[in-house]
Symmetry: C2
């Protein structure tokens, strides 16, 4: 059998990790998947749906034979878990993640590797990845083998990565159905601040200013607008903490746009207002292939 | 047969007007429905789905026999249409609308009535209504007889309205499935600025700051957040124009909340940030009956 990797370790086989496991198994891309979890129930859930072959709570046992280690936990635990794994990694192992922030994780791992005295390329290499998929749900029970089909997966390789490592990781994500786009970690973080982290903050902000007895006065716009506010705040505190300045910049940009609308409202400049609204609709509809009538 | 109204005129039998017509017919609440439209195709579409019995482009013909006249056009045309109808209204007719703004429309009609020399209560009375239902779609082809089931319909009667007029309109909306809530027009406009008009402005603003090649870097949050940006900008220019100061106030309030998030991000005050996020989620989930895990 022509596997991409023989043994795969997935740290945190939840919604994303479990979906990767299901996809890899379904496509027969790896020989064996070991799940590493913090709770026996999570491990059992992942084994039960067939996302992993076996599981362990011991990081050493989990990673020592792995040709690829995928950290699929919330971003707050990615560096911590990978740092714990470093001493036990197999020579030549490929390490990757699925986190929504990239620069912070890369820097932390660089520092950890330097401090440990290990020379990254000799014993293992890390390539950051961010599959842009998922939902406000979490846990292996929501995992699906085709979660990444038609999604985007951003890879953030650096000059210290090997061509073979990049190629293998690219191949894996492509086979899982994703369109792979490579860019610098800083670029990823700036874009995602605007397209994902800012929307999240906006959803929390609007939900906060609606008073309890006011929610019912909405035809559905408010429900859509705040859907992502149902996400776990802890996950988002961590993402915010790892991408602070980009998110602050995006908030500034958004407030500028909102102030422009407000000042046109104030000055009754309806032509300008109409241009702003029509432009927004045009760009939004163009992307989602909706015809303007 | 015990009709609430014998003859009903619906000015603008589109998504909302057409749904009212379908509901009234289905429940047998009126004897006859005349649709008044600006284009023969719109009238034909409403006749074809059975939302109106007959249609006309002539406002006099349309309203002269009507016991209730429902203005269901975009807000920009409501006062214009009702003003044109005033000279031809049947004595005792009940006039109402479905507009998203209430104070502006009421004031305009009050002025028109005073200027025409007609004493409102003697010849007809106007009661503002706002059924909070619908979508970004428009046209009778999207009309549904049960569009208002489990929705909210706000009525904004004033001291000049008769008890019987208020009772009849309340009964009609209740039978169409809506929960009827009465309040002052100013109160309606302040609440809706926050729950409906602000979300609309936010959707346009976020759609405007996402660059064309950035849209794809989102897992779905952005799509939900901007769904209402697909709405017709013209409708929203008019709503904004009729509720300017409330919308400006809501934008100010929102910017304050967003700035609070930004400054906590800046000062790494993660405890405060977590409280803001968790509070938003709690209130949103409580309203939509979603359990926090």
């Amino acid at each position: 059998m022509n596997y991409i990797f023989n043994t795969c370790a997935i740290i945190g086989p939840g919604l994303i990790g479990g979906s990767i496991g299901l996809g890899l198994k379904k496509l027969n891309l790896v020989e064996r998947i070991i799940g590493i979890g913090r709770r026996q129930e999570s491990i059992n859930a992942a084994v039960n749906i067939g996302a992993i072959d076996s599981g362990t709570m011991d990081i050493r046992n989990g990673v020592q034979d792995a040709d690829i280690v995928i950290a699929a936990t919330p971003v707050s635990l990615i560096t911590q878990n990978l740092k714990s794994a470093i001493p036990y990694l197999k020579k030549g192992a490929l390490i990757t993640d699925v986190g929504s922030t990239k620069s912070f994780i890369l820097q932390e791992l660089k520092d950890a590797t330097l401090n440990s005295g290990a020379k990254t390329n000799d014993c293992f290499e890390f390539i950051g990845a961010h599959p842009i998929a998922g939902s406000e749900n979490k846990g292996a029970e929501y995992a699906e083998s085709d979660l990444f089909v038609n999604s985007i997966c951003v890879l953030t390789p650096t000059e210290s990565n090997s061509k073979s490592g990049i190629d293998k990781l690219t191949k894996m994500w492509k086979l899982l159905g994703a369109k792979v786009i490579s860019m610098r970690p800083e670029e990823h973080d700036a874009i995602l601040a605007r397209t994902s982290h800012l929307p999240q903050v906006l959803a929390y902000a609007i939900a906060n200013i609606i008073e309890n007895e006011q929610w019912k006065f909405s035809a559905g716009g408010l429900k859509d607008l705040t859907r992502i506010a149902a996400s776990d705040p802890n996950l988002w505190i961590d993402i915010c903490g790892q991408n602070r300045s980009n998110i602050i910049n995006s908030i500034d940009l958004f407030i500028k746009e909102l102030s422009r609308i407000s000042s046109n409202l104030s000055s009754c400049n309806d032509d300008q207002l109409k241009e702003i609204f029509a432009n927004a609709r045009k760009h939004r509809n163009a992307y989602y292939n909706i015809k303007n009538d």
